[in-house]
């Protein structure tokens, strides 16, 4: 063949490339390329046949042109032809072109797959390898589909040679990553793990990567690899480096394989068999020992490889978390790295130590390095390392060393990088709170924190201080004294003013005895900061002033002067204006008794999870988890400090939200409208009916002391008139009492028309998921004229109050155009079982003022989730609910025709399952369901026995909650 004599040099290609490189300009280059493309096109013209050599050459040129950034839209066929050549170079170029250029949706893909299949089954291992590389390079889902069954066979076949096995393993790994579901588990999977025992280290290395991925996908199936991995690992570790001649890298035996094996072992828990475990521990021991030895080489590669294995081994030790000896040794080893020259090593050591600190065995050992870590914080040049050091300090902190660590962190905070300050502030705040044995220390620390890094102290932090101070009687006096002292500094941060204002407003009387902090001094001090603050702080200070009036009647005059000042009364900020005006009136009109009640000291807050921790978690999930773990252990001591929730009326839904209710987005929104807030948020959305019986659970912090203000104010008649723009008294001429009939329609369905008269139609669409529900209300104006003054509000009957939460999504517009429909979303959260529906009041002006009161079809059964069970389980549970109060039975005549299909539909619509084949009598219905409420899950079992002769039903419902059983039966029996 002529091609042989010409060799593989491909002179034409090198000439072409040289031409391109010599081009002086882009234009010249593109001209040369156009010329070459035309030449290749004329060569590839259908009627001509060209030999393999030229084909290869031209395909190569095309590839080169493509890599220069030009589009290639021909030559694919020729490349595919090259695949069927027997010559290595031609095949190789063909595969190269295909893996670079052929898109997966090309028509040629079938042809290519066929060619690859031929090569995979070819006896020549080189061809097999080329095909495998091509599959891996393309790695498309199509490839995975076509070859996923083939490659495992190749991998475990005894006939394949090592290099092919190696490629097959890596190819399979690639396919696994594109299409994790492509591999059907077969008998090969058990044989794959035996590749760990292969003679050839290359195969083992490739197979370990594959098994690691497989084990992550499907841990149980590859459990057997643990023992094999351990034994392979021990063979590597115990060998001297001369044994693994080709796989020793700078005197470290097979470092990559070791790291991979250690990673693999981290997928599984500690092996149970003592022999395997012992061997593993021994190996880890050896690795730790080896680190003690002097380095065999000064080269950096040697230490890198050695340390890579070591760190992975330490990860495994941490993962196992069972051997105190190993953990402590690992810790000591890491400790020696803490002062290493290499920045990377220091970083890694700190990071690993952070993990070690979480383990009960090594926590003590980690603490020994406190000095070093603190030193690192001060002297380290690299910011990322310093950050790790902070993390570690946070992780190693406990009761014994908290004061020192917090002090160190506070000291460092002044110099810390801006990027990590906020996080550090949170950490300091958490540590101070968590390990505070003495609340004086806690108060000092947080105030110091605000002083040092006031800008980075988030709302949560200072809210928390106030919460704790209010809840702790013993800290109040000290706190008042300290904030007073801190406020005396000429320049203090606004957050300090906030804390100061709040605490002095509450507990200023505790330090008033001292002439240095007499009431007037306190007031003047606070007021000297007033002008430098933002409106929200000023609002808080105004609240503090009115509290002062209660605490120190002797300075009432001064305070009234301040409130009476035009700066306040005519302030551009409407919130400040309103506060000033109201407080002034309150102080002048209300009697001392009323004042004392209104401005009473804040009751303690219910104990909740610290909002700061929640915030840190959001910021850095990893580091917070460390503390979380410890917190569980500590929890008994923590709860000791907590007082039981004293405010029964505070609904529990706010538990997740922070103490001051700021964590949830909704109140943040309200922040913009203080005006509404003062009277409680509900006032804006509902007529004042509710105001007296619903506590202001989610008002802003600065309003909290006054949450009961509004009640007091509401008593004051003329004040109420002035401040409520709308009043429900004596304006309506039509009032409908809530009627039950329309609600009954909704027991078994979610959507429908709730109410209709000749003016308005009210539709309901609802959906429920677990304890949450969403109800869309559609108000349709049926008249051609406008409905003016359109208002809706939702209230809860006293029975239901506190059992469900209702939030109205958006106010309905005040005008509904003729023929138009407006919608309103209502979100419902069910806390516990209830019987009465919420009541919606709709009022509008259409000729005359009309008011409609309706029951909103929010029923207990909406929170049902059907449950499936077989007869055994059912009867077991039925019997378990055997107490008389757990059962509710009703025998009643049928009000509808007795049809089993419609009955079944009704039960399903009610939200319970219908379980067939449980009751011996096929005519009876047996159902089960779970009421998903926020606070509880109530299981319910139902048995409905129709008696066709007497046209009667007997309905028996058993439930873990007797109230629920009663309400449910009451709801359901009317349907039959």
């Amino acid at each position: 063949m002529p091609a042989v004599s010409r060799g593989d040099g491909m002179r034409g290609l090198s000439v072409f490339i040289a031409d391109i490189r010599n081009c002086k300009s882009k234009e010249a280059e593109s001209k040369r390329i156009n010329k070459e493309l035309a030449n290749i096109r004329s060569k590839f013209k259908g009627d001509k046949t060209i030999d393999g050599y030229s084909k290869k050459k031209y395909v190569c040129k095309l590839l080169f042109i493509f890599l220069l950034g030009h589009d290639i839209d021909f030559g694919h066929m020729e490349a595919v032809n090259l695949l069927s050549s027997n010559k290595y170079t031609e095949k190789q170029i063909g595969y190269l072109f295909i893996s670079v250029l052929v898109s997966s949706n090309s028509d040629l893909i079938k042809l290519i797959i066929q060619n690859i299949k031929n090569d995979i089954s070819s006896p020549n291992p080189i061809h097999v390898n080329l095909a495998l590389h091509c599959i891996a390079n393309i790695g498309s889902p199509e490839m995975a589909e076509a070859f996923a069954p083939e490659i495992p066979k190749l991998l475990v076949s005894p006939d394949t040679i090592n290099i092919v096995k190696q490629s097959a393993a890596l190819c399979l790994l690639r396919l696994l990553r594109t299409a994790p579901n492509c591999l059907a588990p077969g008998e090969w999977s058990s044989r794959v793990i035996h590749l760990l025992n292969d003679q050839h280290m290359g195969v083992v290395t490739a197979a370990t990567s594959l098994i690691h991925s497989l084990a992550q996908l499907n841990p149980d199936e590859y459990r057997g690899c643990v023992s094999l991995a351990v034994s392979r690992f021990s063979r590597i570790v115990t060998s001297t480096y001369t044994d693994l001649q080709d796989y020793t890298y700078y005197f470290v035996p097979a470092p990559w394989l070791s790291v991979k094996l250690l990673r693999l072992l981290q997928c599984y828990p500690v092996p149970q068999e003592p022999a395997i475990k012992g061997r593993l521990v021994e190996c880890l021991d050896v690795i730790l020992n080896k680190c003690m030895e002097p380095p065999k080489s000064k080269k950096v590669q040697h230490s890198n490889a050695k340390n890579a294995v070591l760190f992975e081994a330490i990860s495994l030790i941490i993962h196992m978390d069972s051997d105190p000896n190993l953990l402590v040794r690992a810790c000591n080893q890491l400790g020696s790295f803490l002062q290493h020259r290499e920045t990377n090593l220091r970083y890694l050591a700190l990071e690993s130590m952070c993990m070690l600190a979480g383990s009960e065995f090594s926590a003590e050992a980690v603490k020994k390095h406190r000095e070093t870590v603190i030193n690192a914080l001060k002297t380290e040049r690299d910011v990322s390392v310093r950050q790790r050091a902070v993390d570690l300090l946070y992780a190693m902190c406990d009761k014994t060393n908290s004061e020192e660590i917090v002090a160190e962190m506070l000291a460092y905070l002044e110099l810390a990088d801006y990027a990590i300050r906020e996080e550090m502030v949170l950490k300091v705040a958490i540590l101070a709170e968590k390990y505070a044995s003495d609340y004086r220390w806690y108060v000092d620390t947080i105030l110091q924190l605000i002083k040092v890094a006031g800008d980075y102290v988030s709302e949560e932090v200072w809210h928390r201080v106030i919460q704790i101070v209010i809840n702790r009687d013993d800290a109040q006096g000290y706190a008042a004294k300290t904030v007073f002292e801190n406020l005396q500094a000429p320049a203090c941060h606004e957050n300090m003013v906030k804390v100061g204002g709040y605490i002095l407003g509450e507990f200023g009387n505790l330090i008033a005895g001292d002439p240095r902090s007499s009431p007037l001094v306190q007031f003047d001090l606070l007021h000297s900061k007033f002008h430098l603050c933002t409106p929200s702080t000023r609002a808080l200070l105004l609240s503090a002033y009115i509290k002062f009036i209660n605490l120190f009647p002797e300075i009432k005059k001064n305070i009234q002067d301040v409130l009476n000042n035009n700066n306040q009364l005519r302030n551009a900020d409407v919130e400040l204006q309103q506060r000033a005006l109201e407080y002034l009136k309150l102080s002048s009109i209300a009697s001392q008794d009323v004042l004392a009640t209104v401005l009473e000291e804040m009751p303690p807050f219910p104990e909740r999870e610290s909002s700061i921790l929640a915030k840190l978690k959001k910021k850095k999930p990893s580091s917070a988890s460390v503390i979380e773990k410890e917190k569980k252990e500590d929890s008994p001591s923590n709860t000791k400090a907590a007082s039981p929730p004293p405010q029964v009326s505070v609904p529990k839904q706010n538990e997740a939200v922070d103490l001051l209710g700021l964590g949830s987005p909704a109140p943040a929104e309200k922040q913009s409208s203080f005006l509404v807030d003062v009277f409680g948020n509900q006032a804006a959305t509902e007529p004042p009916v509710l105001d007296t019986n619903i506590p202001n659970d989610d008002s802003l912090p600065q309003d909290l002391p006054f949450s009961d203000d509004c009640q007091a104010l509401a008593m004051d008649g003329d004040f109420e008139q002035a401040t409520y723009p709308f009043d429900s008294s004596g304006m309506c001429d039509e009032t409908m009492s809530p009627d039950d009939t329309s609600v009954d329609l909704f027991i078994c369905k979610h959507n429908g028309v709730l109410f209709e008269n000749d003016v308005i139609q009210i539709g309901v669409k609802s959906e429920y998921r677990e304890h949450l529900g969403r109800v869309g209300l559609f108000y349709g104006n049926k008249t051609p004229s406008q409905l003016l003054d359109f208002r809706t509000s939702i209230s809860l009957p006293s029975e239901t109050e506190g059992k469900i939460n209702i939030a109205v999504g958006k106010e309905a517009p005040s005008i509904v155009e003729g023929g138009a429909q407006v919608q309103q979303m209502v979100n419902i959260e069910c806390l516990s079982d209830f019987a009465e529906c919420p009541i919606i009041t709709i009022s509008y002006q259409s000729g005359s003022q009309q008011t409609i009161r309706l029951k909103l079809p929010v029923l207990l059964n909406k929170f049902f989730q059907p449950a499936e069970m077989d007869s055994q389980v059912f009867f077991a549970r039925w019997k378990a609910l055997g107490k008389p109060e757990q059962e509710c039975q009703k025998i009643f005549p049928a009000s509808h025709p007795m049809d089993s299909e419609s009955s079944k539909a009704k039960i399903l619509g009610f939200g319970m399952s219908v379980l067939p084949n449980i009751d011996p009598n096929p005519g009876n219905f047996v159902s089960a369901g779970v009421l998903k409420l926020k606070t509880a899950q109530i299981g319910c079992l139902l048995r409905l026995e129709p008696n066709k002769q007497s046209n009667m039903y007997r309905m028996t419902l058993r439930s873990s909650n007797e109230n629920a059983a009663k309400s449910l039966v009451a709801l359901l029996f009317e349907q039959f």
């Binding site: 300009s25 882009k26 001209k31 156009n34 035309a38 096109r41 590839f44 259908g46 839209d73």
Partner: protein
């Protein structure tokens, strides 16, 4: 104002770097090289803004000229200056290429010192610059000479020195026009305009005053109106029935007295010595298109295409067009081309993806045609070929805009020669600009 000026070769190496203002740092030339010359994607905008610094560039052959500024300058002014600078360099050492720039770099720095002062453009007229920046070494000038140069350069008529004497008073006028056209396949004119220049070469003694007249509609209408006592006449034809043209806009050399042009529409001036561009203009109406291209493209299946192009010349049969070249683009998957033409030579140029058909000359009112068979290679790409237009190049000995020089009168009061003694030459050359027909 211009902060600095750089010249680069095609590789982006700096050949000339002159910085006029302190706000331009040394690294500015690197920024341009990295972001424009070596940009991954070809930068097509002539103005590039990098880090609050504006770079204005133009390319001549392989040479990049780039002006830099940090201020908000008039971009048109900067480009006018750059082009002027190109003209100046060309008149000093011919073609602008790397070698010439390297050989003349002292001269170039000298020129750059003169044409820009603290970034403000100064005199850019070659004729004047040549009076004091010469290429023959350093020549000690006598005191009179230097004072003369100073007074001339700073005087009222900076473009002409006193005491010029010629044995033969002669002047040449060249009307150079380039005609641009875009035509639909059906022969509808989509857009057409002519950009023209009047170049004057004067060899006149003394300080002559010249008056230039052409068949500008405004001027002719005005004179006709005054002559005919305001009797109305059809636009486009004057009393003698000669056609006049509507000039859309024009600019003049600095020697033209603009005040006179404003008031009387008469172009009078004291010409610079030697060659200069008297005016530049643009017209869009009543253009006589010298050629008409009629394409006929037919697809035969997926693998073949037939192209036939007819060219008709559309001017007086006595005139001869020259250097005719027609480019017919071919599809990107062309694998072979057979061409057949009756006149001239045609060839498939694969490097340009086009068939190039050349004819040395062609008389007016003639017609010629070419037919080609293009073989195509089936491709995997479904993308349709965008069919670029057929473009044409030519040169004709008339002005396609219809501009005619009516007179050029020369008055020299001090010396004893008058208009009749001056030998005058007028030449019209029409060239193709972007002359395209869609197919």
């Amino acid at each position: 104002m211009i902060g600095g000026l750089f010249l680069y070769n095609h590789k982006g190496e700096v050949l000339i770097s002159r910085i006029y203002r302190d706000d331009i740092g040394r690294n500015a030339c690197d920024a341009f090289r990295v972001n424009v010359i070596h940009a991954r994607q070809q930068v097509r905008s002539p103005v590039t803004n990098i880090a609050r610094t504006s770079f204005f560039h133009t390319k001549r052959g392989n040479i990049w000229l780039c002006a830099v500024t940090k201020q908000n300058v008039n971009a048109a002014m900067v480009f006018e200056f750059l082009l002027k600078m190109v003209d100046v360099m060309q008149s000093y050492f011919g073609k602008i290429n790397e070698e010439n720039i390297k050989n003349n770099f002292v001269l170039i720095y000298e020129l750059l010192d003169e044409v820009l002062d603290f970034g403000y453009p100064q005199k850019t007229d070659t004729g004047i610059l040549k009076t004091f920046i010469t290429q023959q070494g350093i020549k000690t000038q006598s005191k009179e000479e230097t004072t003369q140069i100073t007074s001339q350069v700073t005087g009222q008529i900076g473009w002409r020195r006193e005491g010029i004497k010629y044995r033969r008073n002669e002047l040449f006028l060249d009307v150079l026009e380039s005609v641009n056209l875009l035509m639909s396949p059906q022969g509808q004119v989509l857009s057409a305009h002519v950009a023209g220049r009047v170049i004057m070469k004067s060899y006149l003694s003394g300080m002559p005053e010249c008056k230039f007249g052409m068949n500008d509609k405004l001027v002719i209408d005005k004179s006709a109106r005054s002559a005919d006592d305001g009797s109305r006449r059809t636009a486009g034809h004057n009393t003698s029935g000669k056609p006049s043209i509507a000039i859309d806009d024009c600019t003049f050399h600095q020697c033209v007295k603009l005040s006179k042009f404003e008031s009387e529409r008469s172009i009078s001036f004291i010409p610079a010595d030697g060659e200069f561009e008297l005016m530049r203009y643009r017209t869009t109406k009543d253009i006589s298109l010298p050629f008409r291209v009629i394409p006929l493209v037919r697809d035969i299946g997926r693998s073949k295409m037939e192209v036939k192009v007819v060219v008709k010349s559309n001017f007086k049969p006595t005139l001869l067009a020259q250097k005719i070249e027609i480019r017919i683009p071919t599809p990107l998957n062309t694998s072979g081309v057979q061409v057949l033409c009756m006149k001239g030579k045609a060839k498939y140029k694969s490097s340009d993806n086009a068939i190039v058909w050349k004819m040395k000359r062609m008389a007016g009112m003639k017609e010629s045609q070419i037919s080609a068979e293009i073989e195509l290679l089936p491709t995997s790409d479904k993308k349709k070929w965008s069919r670029p237009p057929i473009s044409m190049n030519f040169e004709v000995p008339f002005a396609p805009s219809g501009l005619k020089v009516r007179y050029l009168k020369v008055f020299e009061h001090k010396l004893n020669y008058n208009d009749h003694d001056v030998i005058k030459w007028v030449r019209y050359i029409g060239r193709s600009g972007l002359y395209e027909t869609r197919c």
